[in-house]
């Protein structure tokens, strides 16, 4: 079974009018889910895993990305 992986990272409008990052994840069991991250969390994970842009998150192991939160 492969690790959970980021399938997509899109910018969306959050409830409070801030932009947020909607991350689509395929989990180990094959299920695909989405998680919305606020700007602080999203910038933190991008910095933590060396992603220069949100597109750089795609293909990365989700558990690696999560370490930045």
């Amino acid at each position: 079974m492969s690790d959970a992986v980021v399938l997509a990272a899109d910018i969306a409008a959050g409830h409070d009018g801030d932009a947020e990052l909607v991350v689509t994840v395929r989990y180990e069991n094959g299920v695909v889910g989405v998680v919305a991250l606020d700007s602080d969390s999203a910038f933190d994970i991008m910095q933590s895993c060396g992603a220069a842009s949100s597109a750089d998150l795609v293909g990365r192991p989700w558990h690696e990305v999560l370490k930045g939160v």
């Binding site: 910018i11 009018g17 932009a19 947020e20 889910g33 998680v35 842009s53």
Partner: protein
């Protein structure tokens, strides 16, 4: 003789019946008669020919708790036809609250609802600690009806003090919270609100988030004694967790025989399965007999930002991300550097950022020059002989980064998708957040938008259905006695509006908050007259002196 006789209107009763040409007679704050050609006459006669006469609208998710202390009309909500509001959502209310905890609560309100500090220090005197004391402080000067929730976070603060934001409650503390909640419900609270999401001004979870399930269960047992509402803010950023919360709410609803509601629930194209999955679970739990009402707003969500604070709007542009994450002084220096600015512009695309930034709108309310407000960046850039990305940088620098831009309709914006969701009998139209997010966007006019976008434009709802969704349905869900229907004996909360024009106005900044604080508002369009408990509270574009709003009696 009636106090008010409304003649020749298309009467929509609020329960879904087809509109009928009829008169409405009002006396002593109640609907006294509805029928053709009422003969008794009236001290005031309103000709509603060509207009709809409907029950007053009910807004079930607001944060007007503080504003009601200096503005009993909850302006501009009332002029949009809203005659009853429910404040105290998201675990936060202004009572019960000990004097020593006021500063703590003010911080939370400022963080979550963007209320300016002066709203709590200059605009009113804190004359109360108890819930009944708060009720007494607002009663008598209300122009709208109010059904206040009591916040779980303040109940915790009262019982546990600073520990409320540090740990789970002990059995004796839970028991004390139960007693306090019971006291609030006896004083007229419509229910309890809690949050699993919000943080205070120091990014610490609000007190309600430290509660273990047994605490919430115990409080719901008290709600069950009264049959009152539990409102929650679920982890709406994750559909799976939201569904888990729906299951939890269903268990609490069934066990304690209480209604529950969650807000917000909203749609966007980046997570298109969110609402369908949420509603599917609601459907299953409702079929079991649980009462779990998801609240959905009508208005689209706009993205707003300035270069003063890093925004994910730029998350696809590596060079922008790098610069915007610098400390402010270094950020300004970098933006002033011609080489860096050239690179930013180049990275915005071969079109100079036209596609990504050209439709951004300059917002008012900050330092933006008046002549630029409301115009698109593309338009301004063309006038300045710049490309949009360059104009965004130079405009920001010219205004010390205190200029805000708006990307309209960034989410919850697909009318074709949202119309059927709003029409769904499981969906509770609400989540306006009226009175909150003051400096981010306008939380007023969602009802007008319901009619303009989803009745007239898309036809997702009939006029009668739309009225029902914001009148009798919320009244029934929340247990507001004798409201939400145009019926003999019911409260005379009435809106007279033009079905062909009712809408929300453009968003505009005003500086009418205590201390000159700014907020965004929208004026009403097409609302002719608003009657609250039998007296005209707003008519022909102006507020009256009527203060006939009440604390709602509960069924």
């Amino acid at each position: 003789m009636f106090d008010i006789l409304i003649k020749n209107g298309m009467v929509i009763d609020g329960v879904g019946s087809k509109a009928v040409l009829s008169d409405v007679g009002i006396k002593d704050g109640k609907i006294l008669a509805i029928g053709e050609n009422l003969k008794d006459g009236g001290r005031q006669v309103l000709d509603a020919a060509g207009l709809v006469v409907s029950p007053g609208f009910i807004d079930p998710h607001t944060h007007f708790d503080a504003q009601l202390l200096w503005d009993g009309a909850a302006k501009p909500a009332l002029e949009h036809g809203v005659t009853s509001i429910i404040p105290g959502n998201c675990s936060l209310s202004l009572a019960p609250l000990k004097a020593e905890d006021r500063k703590t609560l003010i911080g939370m309100f400022q963080q979550i609802e963007e209320l300016p500090p002066a709203a709590f220090t200059d605009a009113f005197e804190w004359t109360w600690e108890t819930f009944s004391g708060y009720r007494a402080a607002i009663e008598g000067t209300l122009s709208v009806n109010v059904a206040p929730l009591v916040g779980h976070s303040v109940i915790r603060l009262w019982v546990m003090g600073a520990d409320a934001q540090q740990r789970a409650a002990r059995p004796e503390e839970i028991s004390a919270m139960q007693d306090l909640l019971r006291e609030c419900l006896n004083a007229g609270a419509v229910g309890l609100s809690t949050s699993f999401v919000d943080v205070d001004e120091n990014a610490r979870p609000v007190p309600s988030r430290f509660a273990q399930f047994q605490e919430l269960d115990a409080l719901c047992a008290v709600l069950g004694e009264f049959g009152r509402m539990l409102q929650i803010v679920p982890e709406f950023y994750d559909t799976d967790i939201t569904i888990a919360r729906i299951d939890q709410l269903a268990e609490l609803s069934l066990k304690h025989k209480i209604p529950t509601t969650l807000s917000p629930v909203f749609d966007n194209r980046q997570s298109p399965n969110n609402v369908p999955r949420t509603l599917a679970r609601i459907d299953e739990q409702m079929a079991r007999g649980a009462r779990v009402w998801p609240q959905m707003q009508t208005r689209p969500i706009d993205i707003s930002f300035s270069l003063l604070r890093p925004s994910l709007f730029f998350a696809r542009l590596p060079s922008w991300v790098k610069i915007l994450r610098l400390p402010v002084t270094e950020r300004i220096s970098a933006l002033r550097d011609p080489v860096t600015a050239d690179k930013l512009v180049a990275d915005a695309g071969e079109d100079g950022g036209e596609r990504l930034m050209g439709r951004l709108i300059v917002r008012g309310g900050g330092e933006a020059p008046e002549h630029l407000v409301g115009r698109t960046l593309g338009d301004i850039a063309a006038e300045r002989g710049e490309v949009p990305a360059r104009a965004l940088i130079t405009l920001s620098l010219e205004n010390d980064l205190e200029i805000a831009f708006l990307a309209a309709n960034g989410g919850h914006d697909s009318t074709d998708r949202i119309g059927p969701m709003l029409a769904n009998p499981l969906v509770h139209i609400g989540a306006s957040d009226g009175g909150a997010h003051l400096t981010s966007f306008s939380t007023y006019g969602d009802t007008g938008y319901l009619f303009s976008e989803f009745v007239r434009k898309s036809g997702a709802l009939t006029l009668e259905h739309a009225v029902q969704k914001i009148t009798s349905e919320p009244a029934e869900i929340w247990g507001l006695k004798d409201r939400g229907i145009l019926k003999t004996g019911y409260a005379a909360d009435v809106v007279i509006f033009d079905p062909l024009t009712i809408d929300r106005g453009i968003e505009r900044p005003v500086f009418d908050m205590p201390g000159g604080g700014m907020r965004y508002v929208r004026d009403s369009i097409g609302v002719d007259t608003v009657v609250v408990n039998g007296q005209i509270a707003w008519a022909k574009g102006a507020y009256t002196n009527a203060q006939t709003g009440q604390i709602c009696e509960l069924a």
